[in-house]
């Protein structure tokens, strides 16, 4: 029975399930730390996914796919900045607008450019390269998890570590943290919080664009309407859960991926799909309750 669960596909699917969420969450994390309440990750990813397919198809290579996905993310980041940072729009309203825009724009472009609705797949869509590390071949588990994944998987892992050090020790990382905590302090130290937040949004656009590319041109090579399917929201939740810290974020997403992957298997045991699909969310909520319970217990404030 245990073999049913721990088959090779189980381990290799973890990376597949988690990479897009990790990439998007890294983008959301930078925004969170910079004090930009960006819950438009879903829209960012979706446009990124479409742009990846478009770029890959037109440019005849996965590189152009990834690049155009990034441009898609940056485009929405600039829209977000224009309405939130420059015109002082409420970030929730702007986020909702962008989520709708991401869905509408990708669907509209799909129909007007490719003249299809629902799904677009074409042999001309090039998939992202995968990497094989011969060194890992002889280690069963490491081979399954780390070999033959899309290049974005490795970028995501390296970025997690890079983000950790960037936020902690880099000048702009420090500015981002200050922008999120006390922007007056940043202004009085001579930097412009709006510029710092704009920078954070650009990073977010880039990473969400890559998350979209990972969805549409890594394993499948096709675009489906609304294919982000809530991953942007999961990324938002994970960022909030780990209070914007990259390392806990990474492990939380792995946990999420493991449970998600498990739930697919539990379905095989005959549990209703509706129940198994809940599992990742239930685990997230349990973690949230556990974390806040601990925080409550150890907090010095005893307000009611």
């Amino acid at each position: 029975m245990i073999e049913n669960f721990l088959d090779p596909e189980f381990f290799s699917s973890i990376a597949r399930l988690t990479t897009p969420i990790l990439l998007a969450a890294l983008g959301g994390l930078i925004c969170h730390r910079a004090g930009v309440f960006n819950i438009a990750l879903e829209g960012f990813i979706l446009l990124g996914a479409f742009m990846a397919v478009l770029g890959s198809y037109l440019g005849d290579s996965a590189f152009w796919g990834a690049l155009s996905a990034i441009l898609g993310g940056i485009f929405l980041a600039i829209v977000f900045s224009e309405f939130h940072l420059r015109r002082r729009g409420d970030p929730i309203v702007v986020s909702i607008a962008i989520n709708l825009l991401g869905l509408g724009l990708s669907t509209y472009l799909l129909r007007s450019i490719f003249d299809v609705s629902g799904v677009f797949s074409h042999p001309n869509i090039h998939k992202l390269a995968t990497i094989n590390w011969p060194l890992l071949d002889s280690f069963w588990l490491l081979d399954l998890i780390f070999n033959d994944q899309s290049i974005l998987f490795y970028i995501a892992i390296l970025s997690t570590i890079a983000f950790h050090y960037f936020l902690k020790y880099h000048k702009i990382g420090l500015w981002i943290r200050v922008a999120g905590e006390n922007q007056e302090a940043l202004r009085s130290s001579g930097s412009n919080p709006v510029q710092v937040k704009f920078f954070a949004l650009l990073i977010c656009g880039i990473f969400c664009g890559l998350a979209g590319a990972q969805l549409s041109i890594s394993n499948v090579g096709l675009f489906v309407e609304n294919m982000s399917a809530g991953r942007g929201w999961i990324a938002v939740v994970v960022v909030l859960l780990c209070a914007g810290r990259p390392i806990p974020l990474f492990f939380l997403i792995i946990l999420f991926g493991v449970v998600d992957s498990l739930s697919l298997r539990i379905q095989g045991l005959g549990l209703p799909q509706q129940i198994t699909e809940m599992m990742p969310y239930i685990v997230s909520i349990l973690v949230l309750v556990f974390v806040s319970f601990r925080r409550f217990r150890f907090s010095s404030k005893t307000h009611l």
Binding site: K171, R177, E184, S189, L304
Partner: protein
């Protein structure tokens, strides 16, 4: 560095905040800028610091005309400022806070924290400052945060230090240490501009004093050729009314009786608290802020649960009652943080004035509000308390700090409760409003209301209260009665903690 501001004028919309003010500060001089809230002190300093660039007039540094487009330029030119509300980031370490804005970085943009740390340690040891560079600012006391702000300026090698109300948060002891370091900076030929509204401090430490009132320059002179009375008059523009104390007729009885109360604090000692207040009595709770006063007040009004004990209000134990019940039973409360706990800033004056009275038949009709009566009531409060605002419909956010506080005090004092708890009622407001609020407190005392006055201002406690306790690390001292040495006794308790003050065989300080 010699700085001079020439004919500075700043307009905020139609309001002229600063009107052709000139000011000269020399190197090696402590230059005090005094005036009430809204006199334009902070505004003119924001011009010098580059955070306000919309002004007319000239800034000269060492005789050369300069202009800033942001604080960055001013900082580069050697001007540093400690704001009244500290510009620190709580979730960052001391080291990170000091590095912010003056990061020395390697070619990849990463901050060279080791170099910065070594530099700061040099400064810290030169001025004999004790601070842990790896502590989060959130965990520091207010005095320590101020030290961090000052190290920030020293680290940037500022030659002009602008300090906005630096002593508002310090204990007498900390203030003495702080003034000593100011003298050290002065000896190193730095220019120190001290913004304050405490005249005693000016007399203690300044070399030169500039008085502003309503945005205009009133006087600027060496300290030797002026005096305290003259400065006070120039600040207020008229004589400050003296406290008028009269005795009303009321039956004397016990209003509040706190027995064996154990409050939940972070302090290790959990000593029971006992005290009582009678009609027409003001009991002061003195102490350095953060010694459990806020927790005590929260317990009394029912925001914080007590571990044990009794709170008897008019002979009824209210320990298990919630805040609303306690208010209905006769406790009214002026919280210390008017902006956070006292008022809804985005709501109107009339809404704020009546928020505690919605159950009153006069102000509600079933669950509907009687807006007309509420507004009329607010108008009467505005008049009685001389609150400067454009009528009851104005938003509270648009009022000055002193007027906000008057509104809170007006609301709570008009409740006609037998007990009123006031916590730091004059924190951060101008001299005129302070005198007014003190007079109002004395008026309700003479009407027989029992008053618990929790304050960090020693002068406030000594001038108003009939008896006082000192709170230290969550415990209450013995009652100190009004009389000779009242002030000295309270002061000594505040500084040393009474446990060390009372020797086992020693005598009570009341004797």
């Amino acid at each position: 560095m010699h700085v001079s501001l020439r004919g500075i004028t700043v307009d905020f919309g139609n309001l002229r905040a600063v009107d052709k003010v000139s000011l000269e500060a020399n190197a090696g001089e402590i230059h005090a800028v005094v005036g009430e809230n809204g006199a334009g002190k902070s505004t003119i300093m924001s011009v010098l610091y580059g955070s306000n660039t919309d002004f007319s007039g000239k800034i000269l540094c060492n005789g050369k005309k300069v202009s800033w487009s942001s604080p960055k330029d001013a900082i580069k030119a050697g001007i540093g400022m400690v704001h009244q509300h500290f510009m620190l980031v709580g979730n960052l370490t001391v080291l990170e806070n000091i590095a912010l804005g003056n990061e020395s970085i390697n070619q990849f943009g990463f901050i060279k924290f080791n170099t910065i740390r070594a530099n700061i340690l040099g400064i810290v040891s030169r001025y004999k400052i004790h601070i842990d560079l790896d502590e989060l600012v959130d965990n520091l006391s207010v005095a320590q945060r101020q030290i961090v702000e000052i190290i920030k300026l020293l680290y940037r090698e500022s030659m002009v230090l602008i300090l906005d109300e630096p002593t508002a948060v310090l204990t007498p002891n900390e203030r003495a240490i702080f003034f000593q370091s100011l003298k050290n900076f002065k000896a190193e030929n730095k220019t120190i501009i001290l913004i304050t509204h405490k005249i005693d401090e000016v007399m203690d430490i300044a070399d030169h004093v500039t008085v502003l009132r309503n945005g205009k320059l009133i006087s600027s002179s060496q300290l030797e050729i002026t005096n305290k009375e003259k400065i006070s008059q120039e600040i207020v523009g008229e004589e400050i009314p003296r406290l008028n104390i009269k005795r009303g007729a009321y039956e004397s009885k016990k209003i509040l009786d706190v027995k064996d109360l154990i409050i939940k604090t972070n302090f290790t000692t959990k000593q029971a608290i006992n005290f009582s207040i009678n009609t027409g009595e003001i009991i002061g709770i003195a102490g350095v802020s953060g010694n459990g006063q806020t927790e005590l007040v929260e317990t009394l009004i029912g925001i914080r649960r007590a571990s044990n004990g009794e709170i008897n209000l008019l002979d009824k134990n209210v320990i298990n009652a919630n805040t609303q019940t306690r208010r209905m039973m006769g406790i009214s409360f002026v919280p210390q943080d008017r902006q956070r706990d006292g008022l809804a800033l985005g709501a109107s004056v009339w809404e704020n004035a009546c928020i505690t009275k919605v159950n009153d038949k006069k102000f509600s009709w079933g669950s509907f509000l009687r807006k007309k009566n509420m507004k009329a009531f607010s108008r009467s409060l505005i008049q009685e308390f001389n609150i400067k605002v454009n009528g009851p419909d104005a938003l509270v956010r648009t009022m000055s700090g002193g007027n906000m506080q008057k509104l809170v005090v007006a609301r709570e004092l008009s409740s006609q409760c037998p007990l009123i708890i006031v916590e730091n009622p004059t924190w951060g407001i101008d001299i005129g409003s302070i005198a007014f609020i003190h007079q109002k407190i004395m008026d309700i005392k003479s009407a027989g209301v029992a008053i618990l006055l929790v304050s960090n201002e020693l002068d406030e406690i000594t001038s108003l209260s009939d008896g006082a306790f000192v709170m230290y690390e969550g415990t209450l001292s013995k009652r100190i009665s009004k009389g000779k040495n009242f002030r000295e006794l309270i002061g000594r308790h505040m500084l040393s903690g009474f446990n060390t003050y009372y020797s086992p065989t020693g005598s009570s300080p009341n004797e």
